[in-house]
């Protein structure tokens, strides 16, 4: 990794990253803040239970809202946070590799005595840092908000942290294949389109899979099968197994990106 390139890249990505962190933090704080009024609302769960089962699964409220953890997982992690992270990962991975090759500024980075693997590893470190920062800030503000902003509702902090680590790892895998795509293409738009298309395709499979029992098999073809916020936050999944699988997957994808970038012709 080239430290000076890393710092300069982080600096130029700071604004965008700041925006994403701000959005995520503001929303999780807001959502925790209004929790007491929803929890106290009579008949909210009845209303949710009146929805068809598929629909409930889809909005992440299979069993209604029974705890603060369920609520955060369903309302925030199941919806907005998912979108924030997807957009961040797709945009950033494209900007870090394909864009530099497409525009030609990659030529300057490679015209220094840093190997392609080193340059690509630095770029990978930038997206990994960014993703980690978003998740870390969100976790911290989630914990802080539930401690200080509302009273009378407990959040199980250790399982909330485990859950966030898993969330990070899942999006690390998504970042991994987006980065792989970004490292393989010369055209920024093409890389962006394929990354976004593939991710949306996985997401749609996930939605379709959850709609009914007949379509459940579709879940086997999407990474989002592993992302089930409510189950994860309630420790109903094997976090260690899933976590290490995701870790290995991410490692392979980023490793593959470095190799493909090392070997290909660059039109610089």
């Amino acid at each position: 990794m080239s430290w000076s390139l890393y710092l300069s890249m982080m600096k130029s990505h700071a604004k965008m990253l700041g925006g994403f962190i701000y959005g995520a933090v503001a929303y999780i704080v807001l959502i925790i803040w209004i929790y007491p009024s929803i929890a106290d609302m009579k008949g909210f769960n009845d209303m949710i239970n009146a929805l068809p089962e598929g629909m409930r699964k889809l909005i992440g409220m299979e069993n209604g809202i029974n705890s603060l953890a369920d609520y955060i997982a369903g309302e925030f992690y199941g919806m907005l946070f998912l979108i924030i992270l997807m957009v961040y990962v797709i945009l950033t991975s494209t900007r870090l590799m394909a864009r530099l090759v497409d525009q030609g500024s990659m030529a300057y980075l490679l015209a220094t005595p840093n190997s392609r693997v080193k340059v690509a590893a630095t770029q990978a470190a930038v997206i990994i840092t960014g993703l980690a920062l978003i998740v870390a800030f969100t976790t911290l503000s989630g914990i802080a908000a539930s401690e200080w902003l509302i009273s009378g509702y407990e959040l199980d902090v250790p399982s909330f942290i485990t859950f966030n680590v898993l969330t990070f790892l899942i999006f690390l895998v998504i970042a991994g294949y987006c980065f792989f795509i970004s490292s393989s293409f010369n055209d920024e738009k093409k890389a962006l389109g394929i990354s976004a298309g593939l991710t949306l395709f996985f997401y749609m499979l996930n939605m379709a899979g959850k709609l009914s029992e007949d379509t459940e098999w579709l879940l086997n073809f999407t990474i989002f099968k592993l992302y089930d916020p409510i189950k994860m936050i309630n420790n109903e999944t094997n976090a260690l197994l899933t976590g290490s699988m995701l870790g290995v997957g991410a490692l392979l994808l980023f490793g593959g990106s470095l190799i493909i970038f090392k070997r290909r012709n660059l039109p610089l």
Binding site: S12, G104, A111, P113, N114, K118, L268
Partner: protein
């Protein structure tokens, strides 16, 4: 210092590089001339290790440019043909980043070059004109005092004054025994600085000669306007290749026979002499013709 051996890269059967061979010795300035799309930049991409050859190899200082690209970069200063810098920086930020990535600490030469090219380094790169970017590029290529300079159309975008500054810079580096390869589509630019030159067309090297023999085959066309019609007759009857353009105007092609040309003109009453701007095909008709015959 720089060796290109049987370098071949086929994009399509007609486009690419085909069996390219040339060598630039240490301390030599090599001009790489060819029309647009001939393969100049593609050759340079191979030297920089951006592309893997289908066949053959390019070698700098006994290191293979593809396999050992990171090591080769230690020796090279590179100016790309199309300069694009990283976004969101000013000129100085960029130069600093390049120095840090090279682990090069001396700023003396950099500041000297900034002074020389009168560059305002605090300007954000996205606000820079083509000429300013070219200056930043030139400084980035020269500031770490590299052994080998690879310059892709170095003077494009510079005004005549700055072109002069650039040419002086090249001549200085040449005195310091640096090896320089520069591409261009203008013979005039190469002529002033280079020891030898290669002419490339359609991915094939059509000539590889020292600059003096190239000068003798270079064709220049002069437009001569004379005062009397009888002079036109005189010009027409001379041994030179001429073309009568109007009542008192003729085009005279000169190729190594400058002496005869001057003698002819001394016998006429000349009102006006001008050279016609030409493209490379005109200048090196000799080589292009020979290749077509060979085909």
């Amino acid at each position: 210092m720089i060796k290109v051996k049987n370098l071949t890269k086929r994009f399509t059967p007609e486009k690419g590089l085909f069996d390219l061979n040339f060598e630039v010795k240490k301390g030599e300035v090599f001009g790489y001339i060819g029309p647009n799309g001939a393969g100049k930049s593609t050759t340079i991409r191979h030297l920089m290790g951006f592309m893997k050859p289908d066949d053959g190899s390019s070698i700098i200082n006994d290191l293979d440019c593809w396999a050992k690209s990171a090591e080769v970069q230690k020796l090279i200063g590179y100016l790309p043909g199309e300069i694009v810098f990283l976004e969101g920086m000013n000129g100085l930020d960029f130069l600093n980043l390049m120095q840090k990535m090279r682990k090069h600490k001396m700023t003396q030469k950099r500041d000297e070059l900034i002074e020389r090219f009168q560059l305002d380094v605090k300007t954000p790169i996205r606000k820079m004109s083509k000429g300013m970017k070219q200056k930043v590029g030139i400084i980035a290529a020269f500031m770490h005092d590299p052994e080998v300079l690879i310059l892709d159309e170095p003077t494009s975008g510079l005004d005549p004054l700055m072109q002069r500054v650039f040419i002086d810079l090249i001549l200085e580096e040449k005195k310091k025994n640096k090896t320089i390869l520069m591409s261009s589509h203008s013979f005039q630019e190469i002529e002033r600085t280079c020891d030898s030159a290669g002419i490339i067309k359609d991915g094939r090297l059509v000539a590889l000669e020292d600059i003096y023999s190239l000068r003798t085959v270079q064709r220049r066309i002069f437009e001569v306007k004379v005062k009397k019609e009888s002079d036109i007759e005189l010009i027409h009857q001379s041994q030179l290749q001429t073309e009568i353009m109007g009542e008192k105007t003729a085009h005279i092609t000169v190729q190594g026979n400058d002496q005869e040309f001057i003698q002819l003109l001394s016998r006429c009453e000349v009102e006006h002499v001008d050279t016609r701007p030409q493209d490379l095909e005109d200048i090196f008709m000799h080589y292009y013709d020979r290749r077509e015959v060979a085909q």
